[in-house]
């Protein structure tokens, strides 16, 4: 099991090692020590690797992840799991701004709180936040699911396309074109599955509200100009 201590090993060596693991290799579990807020830890993984980061990371941890399983035993800076394609990223602590931005697939779990713009422009990723999220979350989100067990800040889902937003707590305000929608059985099923995958137990999916797009801003219509 490779161990990379970032107090002595340059970050570039770690990311190179993660990128050169061949298909079928047995050495697929990496431990990363002393990240101390370093940027770009474990970016660009494209194999089913397991990476355990022992501490807090800076910007863009696990960006572009495609198939890896990354766990951060600490907090994450801005842009964690940005543009994830597939795989799983778990943050034990809090996440900073734009967690999971533009993600196309995979699952991002934040066990603490996420700051502003969580899931901005998400395009298929699933994001589960055990705590609360900040303002402008899911801005222009296109597809995928954002699940929030706590509260959401201002302008949730502004200019939303087809992503589903599930919030258990309060929502400070909804953004342009974002509305509350009915929780039908298929939504309960999607949510139950995501809660289970994210390790959430004893929470009733029916306690969540669902938010989505009113679909008024898809095409420009002069009557809606004030809503932009």
């Amino acid at each position: 099991m490779p161990v990379f201590d970032l107090a002595v090993t340059p970050l570039r060596a770690l990311n190179e090692a993660l990128h050169t693991v061949g298909a079928g290799s047995n050495d697929t579990h990496f431990d990363i020590l002393n990240p101390r807020g370093a940027h770009a830890v474990a970016v660009g993984i494209d194999q089913p690797l397991t990476v355990a980061v022992k501490g807090s990371v800076g910007y863009y941890c696990a960006g572009m992840n495609d198939g890896g399983s990354v766990t951060v035993a600490g907090s994450a800076g801005p842009g964690v799991a940005e543009n994830m394609m597939s795989g799983t990223v778990v943050i034990e602590g809090d996440a900073s701004q734009y967690a999971g931005a533009t993600g196309r697939g995979g699952l991002l779990v934040i066990k603490g709180n996420a700051a502003s713009r969580c899931g901005i422009s998400m395009k298929g990723i699933d994001i589960v936040v055990h705590g609360s999220i900040g303002h402008m979350s899911a801005f222009m989100a296109q597809s995928g699911n954002l699940v929030v067990l706590g509260d959401a800040g201002e302008a949730l889902g502004d200019s939303l396309y087809e992503a589903r937003l599930f919030v258990r707590g309060s929502v400070k305000s909804l953004g342009a074109d974002c509305i509350e929608k009915e929780m039908r059985p298929e939504h309960i099923a999607i949510l139950s599955d995501l809660l289970a995958k994210a390790g959430v137990e004893g929470v009733d999916p029916a306690a969540f509200k669902r938010y989505g797009s009113a679909r008024k801003l898809y095409n420009f219509n002069i009557d809606n100009a004030d809503a932009y």
Binding site: R36, G37, G58, D94, S116
Partner: protein, 302 residues
């Protein structure tokens, strides 16, 4: 981009370490802003005396015999501690205005970086590591301090354009961001009699807070007013004689991380800046909310 740091000590036992801790935090933020760096440290006060931190492009010429020239011009005794391009003049508090006025005539190339009973300010063009070494910041003691590594956006890369900006006694500010209404605000403040050293947007923010506090507001109220009156992107960290404040604009694009333990409150643009602080592993670490004033004060805690 810019990197900003701040450290407000609650535990007096850490005070001898302040300069070293702040220096390390600042050096860690080098890649957010390699143009210039600066630091303001609030040290011990000598009752009845005020410190004037000055800077000169020709320190050998300007600082030699400056105490005698000030004495001849004003009759006031001045103690000078020169450090590279900066010097801290310690003068009787009631002679500050006379000394400032005399400096303009005696040594016109000297610029005042800051004035206060506690604060000393050191800032220069160059990498943070070089700047803190040149001024021996690591050896300085104090109760709190703020620092800045600059990536210039709104005005020139000069010593005067470096942060912190100090526009009132013992007040200083570091800024990450850019203001869009600084020219208009500068005109309004000038009309109220405020003078400016630079074309820098951050100096306007500092002067705005100074003007608000002159009107009787405390720092918390002044920062609350800034949310209405300043337009643009900002994360501010400000220092006063005994206080330490943080404010982010409502959009809050500019990064900020804070940490608090029984021993200190710390601010960094990134967690990396805080990673070397004692007890950080068990500190409460959080991201300050947008449009929310955070403020600590030794005087109020006492």
């Amino acid at each position: 981009m810019c990197g900003i740091v701040g450290l407000f000590l609650k535990d007096k036992a850490l005070e001898p370490e302040l300069g070293r801790l702040l220096s390390d935090m600042l050096i860690t933020m080098t890649d957010r802003g390699p143009d210039s760096a600066g630091i303001a440290i609030y040290g011990a006060e000598t009752p009845g005396f005020t410190k004037i931190t000055v800077q000169s492009p020709e320190p050998a010429r300007d600082f030699a015999g400056l105490d005698d020239r000030i004495k001849a011009a004003t009759g006031t005794t001045v103690k000078i501690a020169a450090k590279a391009t900066h010097a801290v003049l310690t003068v009787a508090s009631d002679a500050v205005e006379a000394v400032r006025a005399a400096l303009g005539a005696i040594a016109p190339s000297i610029r005042v970086m800051g004035v206060g009973t506690n604060v000393e300010i050191f800032k220069e063009v160059g990498l943070p590591r070089d700047v803190v070494e040149r001024f021996g910041v690591a050896a300085m003691a104090g109760s709190h301090g703020i620092g800045h590594t600059r990536m210039a956006t709104e005005s020139a890369v000069t010593t005067l354009g470096a942060h912190p900006f100090s526009t009132g006694p013992d007040q200083c500010l570091v800024h990450n961001g850019s203001l869009s209404n600084h020219n208009n605000l500068r005109r309004e403040l000038k009309r109220l009699g405020v003078s400016f050293e630079t074309e820098n947007d951050s100096e306007v923010a500092a002067a705005y807070l100074t003007a608000a506090m002159k009107d009787g507001k405390d720092l918390g109220a002044a920062l609350t007013g800034a949310l209405d009156d300043l337009d643009g992107f900002f994360t501010f960290v400000v220092g006063t004689k005994s206080g330490f404040g943080v404010l982010r604009d409502p959009i809050a694009c500019k990064p900020a991380v804070m940490a608090e333990t029984d021993a200190y409150v710390a601010f960094g643009s990134e967690y990396r800046a805080l990673a070397g602080l004692p007890g950080i592993e068990t500190a409460r670490v959080w991201e300050p909310e947008p449009a929310t004033v955070y403020f600590w004060d030794h005087a109020k805690a006492a």
